[in-house]
């Protein structure tokens, strides 16, 4: 394996791992903030218990999200130094602003929130969790501003062989950002909602603390339905925008070698042979791709072969076709799980409204399985966005091959890759262990420990959320 492959492997694996935790954190902290708001407004203990229980799970998750994020920041310089030199001017600014504006806010107010239940008035304490929630969203905004630049470079000039920022406003109103940001945030809210929904149905099924978890379930499903619709609409907007900004990604995600013809049919299933640039088997839905691309039932979508010829003319010789199978299937996993989630949320609300939740054991079980869906969708969406952009790091400006650090040896890369993946595997194991433990303990365990003489009274108090 070459240095480039190793660096890509490390970046891909660490980013995917990091992005399992980020959306869940954004979603969970929002829901915790909603629950604590209900506690402050309605003054019922049950909401406080809910906020604390889900807050526990949020904190376990948040810790891993934060620490794996540090690696993300350092990794650009460590593994992609040529990229960092080329775009630091534009790309570094949002990262620095993220730290200043969002990270400080999140970490400071989260610290106060965790340890401040008995030190602050209810309202000030509530304000802290909302500031944490705001921090996570702002953080996402700036990171996506940086990522959007890679998808669709704007607001810069090339100077001395480097991209230099000349318009911050353009960077913040990047059309790509305007579709990517809501899509990601809605996706994150859906992740938090389905996590809470699935854990709640599990507890309802086990008949444990049912009143608490039914309330949690209801809140979660309202958020899930709204967020699910939001994901769908913003996703559609993103697909439409793709036609202007990265038609090659669109073509690859459709497995479309030749131009589609007018109107374009959407390929639901295909066996793609990217060696010979053809598909051996396809199931198609007429008109659907035209709608996806242009929001009307006519219009041709250019295929990869056409685009390849165009790109070669524009950027010189080379292979501009991304890994087609990966792009094609990640898109379908993302969209498929997304649609399933919308239906599940609607069904969940219906059952809950009709008070038929307990009767439908298959649904309760299904919701628990569905916890995996948003994670699948987030990961697949991210893979599609990033793999679909290949061979570019910055679309049209810099290739991935040119971005890698020239001075980092294969041995170093192999070493870090092994260390980080081992470490992440351990973290994942610990996380699942702790999640299961907390969920089994349930929402009332705070007061239970309070009555028993703990070996170490501080232990309980330290994490007395």
């Amino acid at each position: 394996m070459s240095e480039l492959v190793l660096a890509r492997l490390q970046f891909g694996s660490t980013t995917i791992f990091h992005f399992l935790f980020v959306p869940l954190s954004i979603g969970l902290v929002f829901m915790v903030a909603v629950m604590e708001t209900m506690y402050v407004v309605k003054n019922q203990e049950v909401y406080k218990k809910m906020a604390k229980f889900w807050g526990h799970l949020f904190l376990i998750n948040f810790a891993i999200g934060v620490v794996t994020g540090i690696l993300q920041e350092f990794q650009f310089g460590m593994n992609w130094s040529e990229y960092s030199r080329f775009v630091g001017d534009v790309f570094g600014a949002p990262l620095a602003i993220e730290a200043l504006l969002a990270f400080f806010m999140e970490s400071t107010f989260l610290g106060i929130w965790i340890f401040g239940w008995d030190r602050l008035s209810k309202k000030v304490h509530l304000a802290c969790i909302w500031l944490v929630s705001l921090g996570t969203v702002l953080s996402a905004f700036w990171i996506l501003a940086a990522n959007s630049f890679m998808q669709e470079p704007v607001g810069f000039v090339i100077n001395n062989g480097r991209a230099e920022m000349n318009d911050l406003f353009a960077l913040l109103t990047n059309p790509q950002l305007l579709v990517e940001f809501p899509h990601t945030i809605f996706g994150a809210l859906a992740t938090g909602a389905f996590f809470i929904g699935g854990v709640s149905t599990y507890k309802i099924m086990k008949k444990q603390e049912v009143h608490i978890f039914k309330k949690s379930f209801d809140i979660a499903m309202v958020v899930a339905l709204i967020a699910g619709m939001g994901v769908a609409f913003s996703g559609h907007a993103q697909a439409k925008h793709l036609m202007e900004s990265q038609p090659m990604k669109m073509a690859a995600s459709e497995g479309l070698w030749e131009d589609s013809g007018d109107p374009a049919a959407w390929t639901m299933f295909a066996l793609i042979d990217s060696e010979n640039k053809e598909n051996s088997f396809e199931i198609k839905i007429p008109y659907a791709l035209s709608y996806l691309a242009y929001e009307k039932f006519k219009g041709e979508v250019p295929g990869m072969n056409t685009l390849q010829a165009q790109y070669e003319e524009k950027y010189g010789e080379g292979n501009y076709i991304p890994p087609v199978n990966t792009t094609f299937w990640s898109f379908r996993i993302m969209a498929g799980t997304g649609i399933a989630m919308i239906f599940a949320a609607a069904l969940g609300l219906f059952y809950s409204f009709r008070e038929k939740l307990d009767a439908n054991r298959w649904f309760l079980k299904g919701m628990t399985v569905l916890i995996a869906f948003p994670f699948l969708a987030n990961t697949a969406g991210w893979i599609m966005t990033e793999i679909g952009r290949q061979p570019w790091t910055v679309f049209g400006l810099m290739t991935t091959a040119a971005s890698v650090s020239p001075n980092v040896s294969k041995g170093s890369l192999l070493f870090s890759l092994i260390i980080f993946t081992t470490m992440y595997a351990v973290l994942a194991g610990v996380l699942i262990y702790l999640f299961v433990k907390e969920i089994k303990k349930g929402a009332d365990h705070d007061s239970v420990i309070g009555h028993s003489a703990s070996v170490d009274p501080f232990d309980k108090e330290a994490y007395n959320l």
């Binding site: 130094s81 030199r85 630091g88 534009v90 200043l100 400071t108 650090s405 020239p406 501080f458």
Partner: protein
């Protein structure tokens, strides 16, 4: 008129000073968990003294990294790729430490807590040591070629000077942390931390003396900017001298302030000696990275300056508030903590 890239050099220095001052004491407390605590309750108390703060303290480092990326892309690229393996270890340490604080109390088992205590110990020991090695070797000079790429051998990273630098920074943090404990704890732990600091400070002084003396031979710390660095050394000596005095008088607040000043001045001295270079090339000085040849464009700098100047007061404001909220001492009887 001050050039923006010079201003950003100062800002980066300020961010690192903030990082070493704040995270410095929580690194120190992290090490004390294994060095000073006698039982589990004491360990818990020590960790709780930094519980609400350590995460925000670490953001100073993340912000410093981001600021270097944005303001000095070449510095960022050269340093992070050149110090690849050291940064791998910094990351392992910070990742382990961060989750350890969160996970330690989640399972009621001695073995579990003990494991994470060791993670906290090494996670708190390694970063200051490695950053000490990093900054002293940067100051000494690293093989940076004309393309600004750094490909160094083992002895460039690890030599008497850089290891002395690493040990010195680690000890500065340990002392600072022990004094933080005297401020945030009561009775036994407080006394023990103070006694420990009283003995440790002599080791710190010896280590600092070795570091500064070696600097005279290994670096141009005193030749390039001697008229500033020499007085700084004087101030560092004065800070730690006063710290010795205040510790003996049991004036914990003042002792902590003095070790804080000592850390700030030491980091300040390193940055002063570097300026206007950000990384020294051992191949030839023409290859040095400076604030001028490593920086971003003017527009970027302006935008970043406006953002930083308008946001930093808020950040500092609410961080101070968080210390105010948790101003009380931590002890085992304080069940409402």
């Amino acid at each position: 008129m001050i050039v923006l890239s010079e201003l950003w050099f100062v800002l980066v220095a300020v961010l690192f000073i903030g990082f070493f001052f704040l995270e410095g004491f929580d690194f120190g407390v992290g090490m004390s968990v294994r060095l000073l605590a006698r039982d589990d309750v004491e360990r818990r108390i020590m960790i709780n003294t930094i519980g609400p703060f350590w995460d925000a303290n670490e953001v100073w480092l993340i912000t410093a990294g981001g600021a270097i990326f944005a303001a000095f892309p070449h510095w960022y690229a050269t340093m992070f790729s050149g110090y690849y393996i050291p940064f791998v270890f910094v990351l392992i340490a910070l990742i382990g430490r961060g989750v350890a604080f969160e996970f330690r109390g989640k399972v009621d088992s001695r073995k579990w807590a003990k494991t994470w205590d060791w993670v906290i110990f090494f996670g708190s020991l390694l970063p200051p040591f490695l950053f000490g090695v990093l900054f002293s070797s940067i100051l000494r000079g690293m093989p940076i070629d004309k393309n600004m790429n750094l490909s160094a051998g083992f002895s460039d990273f690890v030599n008497v000077y850089s290891v002395t630098g690493g040990i010195t920074v680690t000890l500065l943090c340990l002392l600072h942390g022990a004094l933080f404990l005297t401020l945030k704890t009561t009775s036994e732990i407080r006394k023990r931390a103070r006694g420990f600091a009283g003995r440790l400070i002599w080791v710190v002084l010896a280590s600092l003396t070795a570091f500064v003396s070696l600097s005279a031979f290994e670096t141009d710390l005193f030749t390039v900017r001697g008229n500033i660095t020499l007085p700084l050394v004087g101030l560092i000596v004065a800070s730690y001298g006063l710290a010795v005095f205040f510790i003996s008088k049991k004036r914990d607040g003042w002792s902590f302030a003095m070790t804080g000043a000592g850390i700030a001045l030491t980091i300040g001295m390193i940055f002063t000696a570097l300026f206007p270079r950000v990384m020294v090339s051992s191949i030839q000085s023409a290859y040095d990275l400076t604030v001028y040849n490593a920086s971003s464009g003017d527009y970027s700098m302006k935008v970043m300056t406006i953002v930083a100047v308008s946001l930093l007061p808020f950040v500092i404001g609410y961080q101070i508030w968080s210390y105010y909220v948790f101003r009380k001492r931590v002890d085992e009887k304080d069940l409402t903590y």
